[in-house]
């Protein structure tokens, strides 16, 4: 893909995980990172080519990035679940997490988004997503996830 003519380059990536991935919760109230071990890249520009190992969503230039994650979860019946997205281990303010009840253990479609200012992109740190079971240690099934990142500036 050709580069644009501006010094401030744009960048984006869209990544979808393999279907029905189990997130093993080892402890109630603790966030568990999603292992980006398999999935598909829907579109990519100025992000590194994904390697088989975690992490995969690695930007190449500093800037202001918007994260948009759409996912479907199930399992952990009637328990309170939380998700957070970030860059590496930087998840920003605790209030930026998404929390909902997994009523009936059915499939629930939710979204989470945020904007991160990245000044020290190092070519090895990637965007991340983590899940938490607030009510127990029951595992969560991640049915689907599409993780989009767009560089705004």
């Amino acid at each position: 893909m050709s580069t644009n003519q501006f010094t401030s380059q744009s960048a984006w990536i869209s990544w979808s995980n393999a279907i029905e991935q189990e997130i093993v919760i080892s402890e109630q109230g603790e966030f568990t990172p999603l292992e980006f071990t398999s999935g598909v890249v829907n579109s990519r520009y100025n992000f590194l080519t994904p390697a088989p190992a975690n992490p995969q969503l690695i930007p190449t230039i500093n800037g202001v990035y918007m994260i948009q994650a759409s996912l479907t979860s199930s399992g952990a019946t009637n328990q309170l679940l939380s998700w957070r997205v970030g860059y590496g281990t930087n998840f920003g303010n605790e209030n930026s997490i998404l929390t909902y009840t997994s009523k009936g253990g059915n499939r629930w479609s939710v979204n989470i988004n945020c904007i991160r200012e990245l000044y020290n992109v190092d070519g090895t740190t990637g965007f991340t997503i983590e899940a938490r079971n607030n009510d127990g240690a029951n595992d969560i099934t991640l049915e689907r996830l599409t993780y989009n990142v767009i560089k705004l500036y």
């Binding site: 893909m1 050709s2 644009n4 003519q5 501006f6 401030s8 380059q9 744009s10 984006w12 990536i13 869209s14 979808s16 995980n17 393999a18 279907i19 999935g39 598909v40 829907n42 579109s43 520009y45 948009q68 759409s70 996912l71 479907t72 009523k103 009936g104 059915n106 499939r107 629930w108 479609s109 979204n111 049915e143 689907r144 599409t146 989009n148 767009i150 560089k151 705004l152 500036y153």
Partner: protein, 155 residues
């Protein structure tokens, strides 16, 4: 693929209503047209005049697509939505699944994607139900926002 020197975007909507074309395990268009009266704003993206919620891009590029609606009734059934390009599902990984509670609840469903589209291609978000519900399913307040990321001046 080159960056465009013109922009492309659209916001389409429809008040929606009863979804009448559901079949078990078969993706269907949202049966509501994206005709001119349902366009919030639009440039270099075209819509169809037939009774299906879909759009056509005039530029090749990488497009951000946000789609949302209110799922109403259609109780106790599993549903999913997925983007289709020229009528072809790109990957099961792009699906978004949801379950309608057995209480006639209204549930907001939304998802977004970035997809590479070629000039003239059709983009649509389709709906599938696992088993036909005994209670009518409604899709209300359907919205699709789409814009080309590969355009100059937005970065």
């Amino acid at each position: 693929m080159q960056f465009q020197n013109t922009i492309a975007y659209a916001q389409l909507y429809n008040v929606g209503g009863e979804v009448t074309n559901l079949e078990s395990l078969a993706y269907k268009y949202f049966p509501f047209p994206a005709i001119s009266s349902n366009i919030g704003t639009l440039k270099n993206i075209n819509v169809s005049s037939d009774s299906e919620f879909k759009a056509y891009v005039e530029q090749t590029g990488a497009y951000f697509i946000d789609f949302s609606f209110i799922a109403d009734s259609g109780d106790s059934r599993q549903y999913k939505i997925c983007p289709f390009i020229d009528g072809v599902q790109q990957s099961e990984a792009l699906e978004n699944l949801f379950f309608q509670q057995p209480s006639g609840v209204k549930y907001e469903v939304s998802a977004n994607w970035i997809l590479n589209l070629t000039q003239g291609q059709e983009i649509a978000i389709k709906l599938e139900v696992f088993n036909i519900p005994t209670v009518t399913f409604f899709a209300r307040d359907i919205k699709m926002s789409i814009f080309n990321l590969q355009q100059l001046g937005i970065h």
